[in-house]
């Protein structure tokens, strides 16, 4: 860091050709969130019918564990914890992007039809047995088909909302309408379907981390990592979009292209999350808003939103597994925990 001769407008960090604005609070909060996420991640692995201490968990993850611990952790518990981490990060970042694009805290992948589209397709394939449906499930798998449904719905909303530019309010209204249609289709399918199929389909309508193995997790993990790499490359060009299209254009940003790339990333991130855990409600909506208030940023911070999403999801899964009677899926708990916390932050802001 170079010393400034006079007081700088914004304090900067300069290391050779790399330079950025130094925001100690944002960095501190993000690091704390990362530490807390790691701790909760390890805790979630350690807690179970066969309790394992935190040091052993950490040692095993980094490859220095006892063989007994290694089997329990690597084969049984890590996939589930990793699924929680990946899904939480993906949903948090996806929510931060959609809220930034719509310039509205109501926008989230849930509202934009991605989760309801995936649910409708999954339920359709489960309940309508017969030629095409069975063929699709056999060839690409139910998860991939649901993912396709989610992406298709997300893109449909985007194109319907497009009219000489993208208006955030219009995007949300069309998203809500399309979501309602998808949910109506789902309800209709469930009402007319065979009772045994309904039970199978139900798993697709409430998000859950139960019985996640390496296969589900691996795909979601690599997809999420690849998408996060794209997002962090485009993030710099994305910043001026917080001021609206015209100001962004005036600042030399090809806003339509940047926004399309970012929205596609958000849709794909939400899709990856849905394919790994089903539709987990509320994380994408609440995580960016919590992150924004913790970091005191005017716009949803991407990294912190992802970490808050992960904390929320892993924490909710831990609560669902340990503190509550059996059988409660994580999706129920995220809403029950996230909702009051956001209300708390909003009320506290009003008082101040």
């Amino acid at each position: 860091m170079s010393a400034e001769p006079k007081a700088a407008v914004l304090p900067g960090v300069r290391l050779g050709r790399v330079s950025f604005v130094w925001r100690p609070w944002l960095v501190a909060v993000t690091l704390l969130l990362a530490a807390a996420t790691f701790l909760l991640f390890c805790l979630s692995i350690g807690i179970g019918d066969f309790p394992i201490g935190l040091p052993q968990v950490i040692a095993t993850i980094f490859g220095h564990g006892e063989p007994v611990d290694e089997f329990v952790i690597m084969d049984l518990r890590l996939p589930r914890a990793l699924a929680g981490l990946v899904v939480g990060v993906a949903l948090g970042v996806s929510g931060a992007i959609t809220q930034s694009i719509a310039r509205n805290p109501l926008a989230s992948p849930d509202v934009l039809g991605i989760t309801s589209g995936a649910g409708a397709v999954a339920v359709f394939l489960v309940t309508v047995s017969g030629g095409t449906a069975t063929a699709i499930v056999d060839s690409v798998g139910l998860s991939a088909a649901a993912l396709g449904g989610g992406l298709g719905t997300g893109l449909l909303v985007y194109f319907l909302a497009w009219r000489r530019g993208l208006d955030g309010f219009r995007l949300i209204l069309i998203g809500i309408s399309v979501t309602a249609v998808m949910e109506a289709i789902t309800t209709w399918l469930l009402a007319t379907a065979d009772i045994r199929d309904v039970a199978r389909a139900q798993a697709w309508l409430v998000g859950s981390l139960d019985d996640r193995g390496w296969d589900e997790v691996r795909t979601a993990l690599w997809c999420t990592l690849a998408l996060l790499a794209v997002v962090s490359c485009v993030a710099f060009q994305f910043k001026p979009l917080h001021f609206g299209d015209e100001v962004a254009a005036g600042l030399g940003v090809r806003y339509a292209r940047v926004r399309a790339v970012m929205l596609l990333c958000a849709v794909l991130l939400a899709g990856a999350a849905v394919s790994a855990a089903g539709p987990v409600p509320f994380v994408a909506l609440v995580a960016p808003q919590v992150a924004l208030r913790l970091t005191r940023c005017p716009t949803p911070p991407l990294a912190a939103s992802g970490l808050v999403g992960a904390l929320l999801l892993i924490g909710a899964d831990l609560v669902a597994r340990t503190a509550l009677p059996v059988g409660l899926p994580v999706g129920v708990v995220t809403a029950a925990v996230g909702g009051p916390f956001l209300v708390h932050l909003l009320v506290r802001a009003n008082v101040r």
């Binding site: 900067g12 604005v21 710099f236 015209e246 005036g250 600042l251 030399g252 005017p298």
Partner: protein
């Protein structure tokens, strides 16, 4: 011979002019708003576009700033076709302030003005000492240095507009395009913002703006562009352009034009249907 002279004069003007629209046709969807318009923005002066609602003022400004791509004709920025320039290079030469921009809630003045450095930054180089110096200068030029740590949404309308102008200055441009910079401001704040614009003009900036208030446009600009139905009706110094006939033709307004007692420009006194002395009632403007 004469033709040659004209060509020579034309190219001289093109070299000097910062922005030139040549035979520009532009519209939204299928609707043409401006058809075959030519206009030149002379350097170092304040050019103000005036005209009745819906005549294409903002459309022209948006076309000059490259927000809209003309369906025919070209816009030249310092002699280069603006459509062929990189978006970033345009942003380094030309600062644009759209109508009533909105900043995210809680964003500080310093952060907003700092965003003006975007065209000069890259993923790795997001905040150099140059950036800091230019932003400090932009804040000082617009008189908002003391507000640097305040959230933009807590400022008055006039202060907010100063901050946005500061952001366009931070782009390092000396060519500013302002779309109705005084909208929603009371008269005192409007005068304050326009005094600032004039300060910037004195400091060497070329300014193009759209204004609704004719008297403010007359007082603060050296070059008026009067538009009607997508075409230019008149252009030149306010003293030459503003006449009762022109006001009637452009706006359908009955008005008297008198000498401005505090300035050296004409002053427009509108004559409405009511609240006027009997000898003006019902007469035509002259």
């Amino acid at each position: 011979m004469v033709a040659q002279d004209i060509t020579r004069v034309k190219s001289a003007v093109a070299q000097v002019a910062r922005l030139t629209a040549e035979d520009v046709t532009v519209g939204y969807g299928g609707r043409t708003v401006i058809d075959g318009l030519d206009v030149t923005v002379p350097p170092g002066v304040i050019t103000t576009i005036i005209g009745p609602n819906g005549c294409g003022k903002s459309t022209l400004l948006r076309t000059l700033s490259r927000l809209l791509k003309p369906t025919r004709g070209t816009v030249l920025l310092d002699g280069d076709d603006i459509v062929r320039l990189r978006t970033r290079d345009v942003a380094k030469k030309l600062g644009l302030l759209p109508q009533t921009p909105v900043a995210p809630e809680g964003l500080t003045v310093a952060d907003l003005v700092a965003r003006g450095r975007h065209p000069h930054q890259s993923w790795l180089r997001q905040w150099s000492s140059d950036d800091d110096a230019v932003v400090a200068r932009a804040l000082a030029m617009t008189g908002v240095s003391d507000l640097a740590d305040r959230p933009v949404d807590t400022l008055s309308g006039g202060q907010r507009q100063r901050v946005w102008i500061s952001m366009t200055l931070a782009q390092g441009t000396d060519l500013l395009l302002l779309d109705e910079p005084t909208t929603y401001l009371d008269l005192a704040h409007a005068i304050d913002v326009l005094d600032l614009v004039d300060d910037l003009h004195e400091a060497g900036c070329t300014v193009v703006m759209v204004l609704h208030d004719l008297n403010l446009a007359t007082r603060y600009s050296d070059n008026l562009v009067v538009m009607k139905e997508g075409a230019i009706l008149a252009q030149g110094h306010p003293r030459d352009v503003i006449t009762t006939e022109l006001l009637h033709e452009a706006f359908g307004l009955r008005a008297m034009v008198i000498d401005d007692p505090v300035g050296d420009r004409p002053l427009i006194v509108p004559i409405g249907r009511t609240q006027v002395q009997p000898n003006y009632r019902g007469k035509s403007g002259s």
